[in-house]
């Protein structure tokens, strides 16, 4: 029998949820507000919240100084490219591990995850030298390869978890009906795993979009994405917080909007199998 939820409990839960939500969102809101202030108002003490002379000057300056569209397109190509290639590799890999596990499957999964435990800077120089020799420095394709590789363990793990929730009997039934391996994966497995794949895809795009170590270290002028665009407005000698906030807002806006519209899929995918 389900436990009755009183109105009081409901109100308390709602208040807590809103408080936590506002706390988490506040830094982003503050960045957005600061982007509309003058540099002097941005550092005012006590801080000014809403009542100041709103200005678009920072956005105008940022537009004049930087080629936003080029950085934006680089971010789009790199994040979508690495996600699509990652999924193309991860779906068959996760299928094999979920439905045809071997003795070492668990160890392979753990080994893949362990690559995420290595600090990226540990492999920076070797990778930089490889990229230099292969002519991949400051290229989109180079970044797509790196981001695919660093996010692959997470994609495989997520898909493996979703696939494990799908009853093997359904796939066996398809095989008994004469489905080939290709048909089984494309026509039976994938339609059932769409929520999981969609959330993996979205999460991976977000991770790739926000990646700020490799995208800063392996790029110069041509393939630098929005992370480099933000970094170009940070200064240890000079107060440019309002311009930095404008650049940050412009960089996070696309992914924030995408996340807002796809939050249902994201939540559904991330909590899939969490409650039984």
């Amino acid at each position: 029998m389900a436990r009755a939820v009183t109105n009081k409990t409901k109100a308390i839960n709602t208040a807590i949820a809103w408080t936590v939500g506002i706390l988490i969102f506040f830094p982003i809101l503050w960045t957005i507000l600061t982007s509309f202030k003058s540099e002097a108002t941005a550092i005012a003490d006590p801080p000014v919240f809403l009542f100041f002379d709103w200005t678009l000057d920072n956005y105008t300056t940022v537009q004049e100084r930087s080629n936003y569209f080029r950085h934006f397109m680089n971010s789009v190509v790199i994040s979508i490219g690495s996600t699509v290639i990652g999924l193309a590799i991860a779906i068959p890999a996760a299928w094999a591990m979920a439905f045809v596990p071997g003795k070492q499957t668990k160890n392979v999964l753990m080994w893949m995850l362990s690559t995420k435990m290595l600090p990226p800077v540990g492999v920076l120089v070797p990778l930089y030298l490889l990229f230099r020799d292969w002519g991949l420095l400051d290229t989109r394709i180079g970044l797509v390869i790196v981001l695919t590789l660093i996010n692959l363990p997470i994609i495989i793990w997520m898909l493996y978890t979703y696939f494990r929730e799908i009853p093997n009997d359904i796939l066996e039934a398809a095989r008994m009906d004469g489905a080939t391996l290709r048909s089984e994966v494309i026509y039976v497995l994938l339609p059932m795993a769409v929520p999981g794949i969609a959330s993996t895809l979205l999460l991976n795009i977000i991770l790739a979009w926000n990646e700020a170590f490799w995208t800063l270290n392996l790029t110069a002028a041509n393939s630098a994405p929005l992370t480099a665009f933000i970094a170009s407005y940070s200064s240890p000698e000079g107060l440019f917080y309002a311009k930095l906030s404008a650049a940050s807002t412009m960089a996070i806006a696309p992914i924030l909007i995408m996340g807002w519209f796809s939050q249902k899929q994201l939540v559904r995918g991330l909590t899939f199998g969490a409650v039984k």
């Binding site: 920076l124 120089v125 230099r132 270290n217 002028a221 041509n222 200064s235 240890p236 000698e237 000079g238």
Partner: protein, 445 residues
């Protein structure tokens, strides 16, 4: 069949011709990728490059602007691995002699005749040369000085001399502090880092007569002089500094000073143009300047020198075009160009004698004379009192200094935050510095 062959042949010939034509054009047209730091003077330069393009229509410029620490890591990695990503690099005075001796920089031998290297300030030229050969061109230079509130000093009844001692500074800080009104007598850097708190404390140590190493590369933190330096720094900041000073760097102190919360601020001379800018500073018309303090009896005003320079990596395929750009950006004509477009106050400071002889600049920049005095007082070949085995200014010009300076800065910042006392911080600094310097093999010959 014959027609197909003819068409294919023609297409191939056309393709080849087009390819050759493209190669010919590519040889004429050059795109320079310039790595630079995000600060006001560099951004201003990016806005004025139409003038360069008029003079050199075959040279295009691509900018990679990064935050200082990211830039340093990025260009070091690229030059050390011959990555070839940048044709012109913005580097600091610390890197220039080290990289030049490694053979990583192109000597600037092809500067135009009218460049006038003799016009460069002597201390700047010396700091950027190895064996009298210039390896980087100075874009702007800075030393450190005292910026103080003339109105608060007057109210408190104190006078800050042009060449104050640390005793003068302490007395003025005490007199100006009014914590109930949110005014702190002195603001100094506390944020850990070799270019953060250690820039200030390193210069302060020089002005007390302390040194990092003796001639045998033995660290000197256990000396009485270092004890005085750190004790006085902690006393000043604890009694007359703002709360949470252990997290304050240049920007945080700039913000405090501009809002009228600091009586004095000792920091880079480049800050003078910010604190006297009426658009951003609430105290713009009541700022006075004085030279970096010294300890009584020590003839050393800190020896703080920082220069942002433009350098060309060794082995660059575009060295000629790169040197043309470097010469343009650091020339007297460029200074004139800035003055015409944005006024003399915005001219990049601290590199050329002619700027400080210019009456229009002297009039527009009230801090000009003190900036020049501060830079001229620097001797990078002998930054500290007594015999020392290193050169530098508020830093030691060895590759290991970044790591050592930052680690020592962390212990001093911890002392400022109250996590240890001065003696413990100095002991810790002594141990870690000696360990690193021994590991690197200094003094083992």
């Amino acid at each position: 069949m014959t027609i197909t062959r003819t068409l294919l042949g023609s297409a191939a010939s056309l393709g080849l011709a087009a390819g050759l034509a493209t190669t010919a054009v590519a040889q004429d047209n050059v795109t320079l990728t310039i790595a630079t730091v995000n600060n006001g003077d560099m951004i201003r330069m990016q806005g004025l490059t139409d003038d360069f393009k008029e003079q050199y229509p075959n040279i295009d410029l691509e900018w990679v602007t990064l935050e200082e620490n990211v830039l340093r890591q990025r260009v070091t990695q690229d030059i050390a691995t011959s990555g070839g990503q940048f044709d012109v690099m913005t580097i600091g005075v610390y890197e220039v002699p080290i990289w030049a001796e490694q053979g990583w920089l192109t000597p600037l031998e092809d500067l135009p005749e009218n460049y006038d290297t003799d016009d460069l300030l002597p201390s700047i030229r010396e700091a950027l040369s190895v064996d009298d050969q210039l390896f980087a061109a100075p874009f702007y230079g800075e030393s450190a000085m005292v910026m103080y509130r003339t109105d608060l000093a007057e109210e408190a009844g104190v006078t800050i001399p042009d060449q104050p001692t640390w005793t003068d500074i302490k007395a003025a800080a005490e007199a100006m502090t009014d914590q109930d009104a949110g005014i702190y007598g002195i603001c100094l850097r506390g944020k850990p880092g070799w270019g953060e708190n250690m820039a200030l404390i390193g210069a302060m140590a020089n002005s007390y007569g302390a040194r990092w190493f003796d001639m045998d590369w033995q660290a000197q933190f256990e000396s009485e002089t270092w004890n005085e330096v750190l004790t006085d720094y902690l006393d000043l900041m604890t009694n007359y500094g703002p709360p949470g000073a252990a997290a304050n760097g240049f920007n945080e102190n700039l913000s405090l000073f501009q809002q009228g919360k600091c009586g004095m601020w000792i920091d880079a001379t480049v800050a003078a143009s910010f604190v006297t800018d009426p658009d951003d500073s609430t105290v713009a018309d009541s700022v006075g300047f004085a030279q970096f303090p010294n300890k009584e009896g020590v003839d050393n005003h800190g020896n703080w020198l920082w220069i942002w320079t433009l350098a060309v990596p060794a082995g660059s395929q575009k060295a000629e075009a790169a040197q043309q750009f470097v010469a343009w950006a650091t020339s007297q004509d460029y200074t004139q160009l800035v003055a015409e477009n944005e006024g003399w106050r915005a001219a990049p400071p601290g590199t050329r004698t002619s700027l400080y002889e210019n009456e229009q600049y002297q009039e527009a920049a009230p801090f000009a004379e003190m900036t020049l005095n501060s830079i001229n007082a620097v001797d990078t070949s002998a930054p500290a009192e007594g015999e020392i085995p290193y050169t530098g200014a508020q830093y030691v010009a060895i590759p290991e200094f970044q790591g050592i300076g930052t680690a020592v800065g962390q212990t001093f910042s911890a002392a400022l935050a109250g996590q240890m006392d001065a003696e413990q911080a100095l002991q810790s600094a002594q141990q870690l510095t000696q360990r690193e310097i021994d590991r690197a093999g200094y003094g083992s010959d």
